[in-house]
Symmetry: C2
Subunit: 254 residues, 2 copies
Amino acid sequence: MIKVVIIGAGNVASHLFNALYTADNISVIQVYNRSQKKLAYFESKTTTTTSLSKIMDADLYLISVSDDSINSLSKKLQFNNKLVAHTSGSVAMNQISTHNSPSVFYPLQTFTAGKAVDFKAIPLCLEATKKSDMLLLEIVAKSISDNVYQIDSKQRKALHIAAVFVNNFVNHLYQKGEEICTENNVSFDILKPLILETAKKVTELSPLKSQTGPAKRNDNKVIEQHLSDLNTTTRQEIYTLLTKSIQKTHGNKL
Amino acid sequence: MIKVVIIGAGNVASHLFNALYTADNISVIQVYNRSQKKLAYFESKTTTTTSLSKIMDADLYLISVSDDSINSLSKKLQFNNKLVAHTSGSVAMNQISTHNSPSVFYPLQTFTAGKAVDFKAIPLCLEATKKSDMLLLEIVAKSISDNVYQIDSKQRKALHIAAVFVNNFVNHLYQKGEEICTENNVSFDILKPLILETAKKVTELSPLKSQTGPAKRNDNKVIEQHLSDLNTTTRQEIYTLLTKSIQKTHGNKL
């Protein structure tokens, strides 16, 4: 049985806890958090503590706190030579204090508080300094996910930026779409099959080949009509920039 | 049995044909196209013609050609007082010549040549001038889709613009994500579960509530790091504009 302690009690920590808690060969022996309040969820399921000095002996410590706190928290850990992983997409592995053995255990997914996710499908990006550490990380990762990757800090940084494009920015475009629907008394539901199909399509066909629409077709009549119908500067700016970028990508005249 | 003639043999025409061809109460009695070559696919399944004068008598004519050709083609139709629908998102109903009865039969979906779609889930947006015309359109629409909406030309125009945001522009952001992965020797496959979950999430939770990421959190340290890591002007421009727009939406300081 591999003993894991989770340090942090936020969104990612909770989702990781739920996945590891039900894994066969893993025991989450403790959850640490600075404040007692956020530990309530875990109390009936495992040991909890608000004291760094009371963190128990384990095989793996997962630091799942805000990016800015990873470094300082890792320095405060009162044990040595243990495997300590952070779970962030944008923090380098070397931000973990070297009095322990630094590593990374990064689930590449968007987590919503209270919304269950199928962890099996979530890619876990692992990084470690020692081969034996990587082996342990892999055992833990494979016990909860079918998509386990070894990714170095530079690659993870790039992945995190790419994730901002395909998740944060994409979601914002959904929101622009919803705004336009609402203003015109059209149900956003009408767009949902298109949203799902657009996402599904690029799992089979490259985004480059999947591209359609007035920008790709260089249909300036439709583009101009859309720009004149868009009634806010922000929407017009987004429309113009992304149209220009699509035309550049597909070699059309600007 | 409702008799339908499809005018056009492109991507949307083919997908509509396949759906209507298998519907119980519909008979696609003919497909018209200017050139014989593109009719090859239909020849074993129904009558085809390249001559406007040979178009057969039907209950509904679906014009599925490029936006620019709808008006001129509708004027050339050599029959009168028949129900004629175009299938475009961005063309007004009144672009169909009034020597027939104008209407719209717009499937809101991204169609890829050769890739089968589940038509049942595709929203069909209908518009007609007469109640009896709408009734006929509805019978045909409901025979192939579970999502049938009455949408007027102004609403359809808005929907089409919204669709550009949630489909064309979203796909382009996928492509930017893939570029960044490829440049860093990371498989784009790692992003696919995130892409699917991001899309699925807004079918249950509004995009406004689904928003996450450095822009939403106002995490300027990460934003600046990302901007300095992005190595093309276009990517930096897209990152800056969408970050600014998310911050504006969520009331953060710029």
